[in-house]
């Protein structure tokens, strides 16, 4: 009788212990889940935002006439209208080259540096005017997006940097 009582008490203690372990494990899993979700979301980054905003003002090599100089904003408009910068180059080609040059000079993207990869896009709805990407993407990323109204429609510039 005494031995049975003892066994029951031990069983109850074991059940209590297991319950506590399970409870702690569930709480830990919830915290882990929340922290994992936080890292996969792209946070807004002021530096990238400033890069996109100042890029729009950059004076490009596109000079369709002797007294006309296109800045990046004008070049996007010219690309949308399928214009040419001169007889040799289309506005869209110059836009691509200029965007690549600006990124190459501004961000040091490599496996060794803090910034491991990037995606840069200029798009209007589904149509992509520029798509540049380099490096191996990771879950930790930051980005920014700005828009430019062109003839009643919005053209978006978006950049994401992977750390």
């Amino acid at each position: 009788m005494i031995s049975k009582k003892k066994t029951r008490k031990a069983q109850e203690e074991m059940v209590g212990f297991v319950l506590i372990v399970v409870l702690v494990a569930i709480i830990a899993l919830i915290f882990l889940g929340i922290s994992m979700r936080k890292t996969t979301r792209a946070e807004e980054n002021k530096e990238i935002d400033s890069f996109l905003a100042s890029t729009l003002l950059f004076t490009t090599n596109c000079r369709p006439s002797a007294d006309a100089v296109y800045d990046f904003k004008d070049l996007i408009r010219a690309c949308l209208k399928n214009e040419r910068c001169d007889e040799l180059e289309k506005a869209c080609d110059v836009l691509n080259k200029t965007a690549f040059n600006l990124i190459e000079n501004s961000w040091k993207i490599s496996e060794e540096s803090r910034e491991k990869a990037y995606i840069f896009r200029i798009y209007k709805g589904e149509e992509s005017l520029v798509y540049l990407a380099e490096g191996k993407e990771s879950s930790k990323k930051q980005g920014a997006e700005i828009y430019l109204p062109v003839e009643g429609e919005n053209v978006y510039l978006r950049m994401e940097i992977f750390y």
């Binding site: 905003a53 100042s54 003002l57 007294d67 100089v69 501004s106």
Partner: protein, 178 residues
Amino acid sequence: MDRMRWLSAACGRMKMKKKAQFKIQQMALMLIAVVLFFILVGLFWLALQYRNLQKQALQLEESKSILLSEFLSSSTEFSCGSYCIDTDKMMVLIDRKVYYSLWPVSYIKLRKICPGGGGECNRENYPNCSIYSVYEKEGNVSRGEIGSFVALCRYEKIGGYAKRVCDLGKLGIGYEIK
């Protein structure tokens, strides 16, 4: 017979005493373990707090620099619009020591990124230069830098007209790391 009974009672008392001692020991050990656990948790929390405190101090310095970089790029003395700095105005400001007391940072530097090339800017080589040293506090060694991109604009005569020409640059604000 009485002696036997007395002996068995004493033996029983001894057994109970031993069991009680064992229970006390068990409880004491448990209490020590719990106290140790809480001490460890406390130490871990303290270490985290200390690390956070250092981080917060650094963040405060950073945010001070960010605020200043926003102030600089939007103040009328330099600005030519949003994220735009007028380098002609900047050249005038470079040797003006009267502004130094307004800037609670280690240094303020503007670097031309694209197109690159050229050295420190002065009145002789402007605009074919790439670094504008606006302010530098003396005696600082340990520094961090926060920066934001800006367009460095000036006016040039193109095809007989004054046109705004903008390069891409970075406004670097240095802050002390304590």
